[in-house]
């Protein structure tokens, strides 16, 4: 195992994982994965359902133990039963279903949960809960019962619960999949703000291409392996490959692709504004 540099949030070498089953030889969900994620990045992981991306998320937080290979998160070994608790001090995770991750009977109690688990004294808890709720703009809901909140608000509470433990990494495991478009935008804006202002490493697992556009890096998984890895420009340049494995690409990429295949010459665009600019350039030519 190589020495883990502090600027690396995640390192894996030949990582493999398969669920234990009684009869069949277990099939691997994660196959021979080599990965390095630098601290401070906003990384998106894309893949269709069953591509292994959610399994990877659970491995990153020590919720699952690697079957083979090495996985080091924030400098701690993720296959060791004791060091995983250290990992969980540094890595927070937001799950898909907003309803099934809120433990507390009130918002405040829920944000407190992670702090209680870590033995934080009650006076300090108060301070940290207020800070955390403020950072997700949910201060006014501190006494609310979770079931009265909307899906987007619940996810923000879940993020507050993580912010309260002052993590260095937040993993969003399809945290927007069950939200409506407005709430989805809200949660993504929040993730970007925490990344920008608090310097948190964000790993966003998703299948919405629009959510990945502003990442520093996109990792595309298919069948337990990384098939594409790079900047959004580099990844979406391979639109056909993404579509071939059941993934979508942003509208601008799709339209440009259709135009190019009909003989229009146009450089790669990712966002709508760029496409508008390129189209205007072409249309104003005389």
């Amino acid at each position: 195992m190589s020495i883990v540099m502090p600027e690396t949030a995640v390192v894996s070498k030949h990582l493999a994982f398969g669920y234990q089953t009684d009869q069949e030889p277990r099939s691997l969900v994660i196959k021979d994965l080599d990965l390095e994620i630098e601290t401070g990045l906003f990384v998106s992981i894309m893949g269709h359902n069953g591509s292994g991306k959610s399994t990877l998320a659970k491995l990153l937080n020590g919720l699952l133990t690697p079957s083979q290979g090495v996985l080091v998160v924030c400098g701690f070994d993720a296959s060791n039963n004791e060091t995983v608790w250290e990992i969980r001090h540094h890595v927070g995770m937001v799950f898909q279903n907003p309803d099934n991750q809120i433990v507390g009977p009130t918002v405040e109690d829920d944000v407190a949960f992670g702090l209680e688990n870590r033995g934080v004294p009650p006076e300090e808890m108060r301070v940290r809960i207020d800070e955390a709720l403020q950072s997700v703009h949910m201060q006014s809901f501190s006494q609310a019962q979770p079931h009265r909140l909307s899906g987007g608000q619940k996810q923000r509470v879940a993020i507050a619960g993580i912010m309260a433990i002052r993590p260095s990494v937040i993993i969003l495991d399809e945290a927007t999949a069950m939200l409506d478009p407005m709430a989805r935008k809200e949660v993504m804006a929040l993730a970007h703000r925490l990344h920008r202002e608090e310097g948190i490493t964000v790993i966003n697992i998703t299948h919405f291409p629009e959510e990945t556009l502003h990442s520093d890096r996109i990792i595309v998984m298919h069948d337990g392996k990384v098939v594409l890895d790079g900047t959004p420009a580099a990844v979406f340049a391979e639109a056909e490959r993404l579509q071939a494995i059941g993934l979508d690409v942003p509208l601008a990429v799709r339209l440009r692709q259709a135009l190019v295949s009909n003989g229009v010459a146009m450089p790669l665009v990712l966002e709508r504004e760029e496409l508008v600019r390129e189209l205007c350039k072409l249309l104003s030519k005389t």
Binding site: R88, F95, D109, G114, E116, N117, H147
Partner: protein, 267 residues
């Protein structure tokens, strides 16, 4: 929106009265003490003390009498039965009424009144507890009071966490039940016709999905709790701190006062 939405858990009526603001531990202990004291009363004077006390507690709690009367609804039959049994079976003293072998005598009337009063007071005082204490505070108070039992390996922390998660998920599961009922009705399920056996069978399409969903939720919740660093009760701190205040001292004095008065006037 759903039909079960208005289902309230417990019967907590939020407020900021003296009784509301008492520490839940005090309230629990108080109800326990009161339940014992009720059995000390055995004459008009002592019962008057208890009645006066209960009524003033209700007044101080500013709970509308309607709520309290409603809390008696499940037990009124029991109270009525107590009255009838004592009227007819307890003998002694002057005979007030007789018809054939039926007689109603002085002691019978007295016992009927006393015993039914005892029952009523007990129900009222414990309703007052649940009316003025949120379920959350109640579980908290119970956990603290029972925490000495940890020494004999009673999983007090786990029980209390279970209760509080149950409180958290009751509304969610009610909503879910409503959704599943509607979904099966949309598939033509007929839930309220036929004999008992048929009706029970008709419930299968509701209960199976409900159980599956509850298990799925439990599994996901377990993941989330572990991810958030939950590893059992040891070393945990709590956000909610219970503190005794002057109010609790007043409550304790009240109990002593009642005890004193009962001891004095008891026959």
């Amino acid at each position: 929106m759903n039909v079960l939405q208005n289902f309230a858990i417990g019967q907590y009526v939020p407020g900021r009265s003296f009784v509301h603001l008492l520490d839940p531990r005090s309230k629990l202990l108080f109800v326990l003490a009161f339940a014992i004291l009720v059995f000390l009363a055995n004459n008009w004077q002592t019962y008057t003390v208890l009645v006066v006390f209960t009524l003033s507690a209700v007044a101080v709690a500013r709970i509308s009498p309607g709520y309290l009367v409603r809390s008696l609804k499940p037990v009124w039959f029991l109270i009525l039965l107590t009255i009838i049994l004592h009227l007819l079976s307890t003998k002694g003293g002057a005979v007030y009424f007789s018809w054939g072998w039926l007689t109603i005598e002085e002691q019978g009337v007295k016992q009927a009144v006393f015993i039914s009063l005892r029952l009523t007071l007990l129900v009222l005082i414990s309703s007052l507890l649940t009316l003025t204490t949120s379920p959350l505070d109640l579980t908290d108070g119970m956990e603290r009071l029972l925490s000495p039992l940890k020494k004999i390996k009673v999983p007090v922390h786990e029980i209390s966490l279970m209760l509080s998660i149950a409180l958290r998920f009751i509304p969610t599961l009610l909503e879910e039940t409503d959704k599943i009922i509607k979904a099966q009705m949309a598939r033509g399920a007929d839930l309220d016709s036929g004999n008992l056996l048929k009706r029970a069978k008709n419930l299968v399409p509701i209960t199976v999905p409900l159980f599956i969903s509850a298990f799925r939720r439990a599994e996901e919740l377990a993941w989330a709790m572990e991810a958030r660093g939950y590893r059992g009760g040891s070393g945990r701190t709590r956000l909610r701190q219970l503190r005794f205040s002057w109010r609790d001292a007043v409550a304790a004095l009240m109990i002593l006062l009642i005890l004193g008065l009962l001891g004095w006037w008891r026959a």
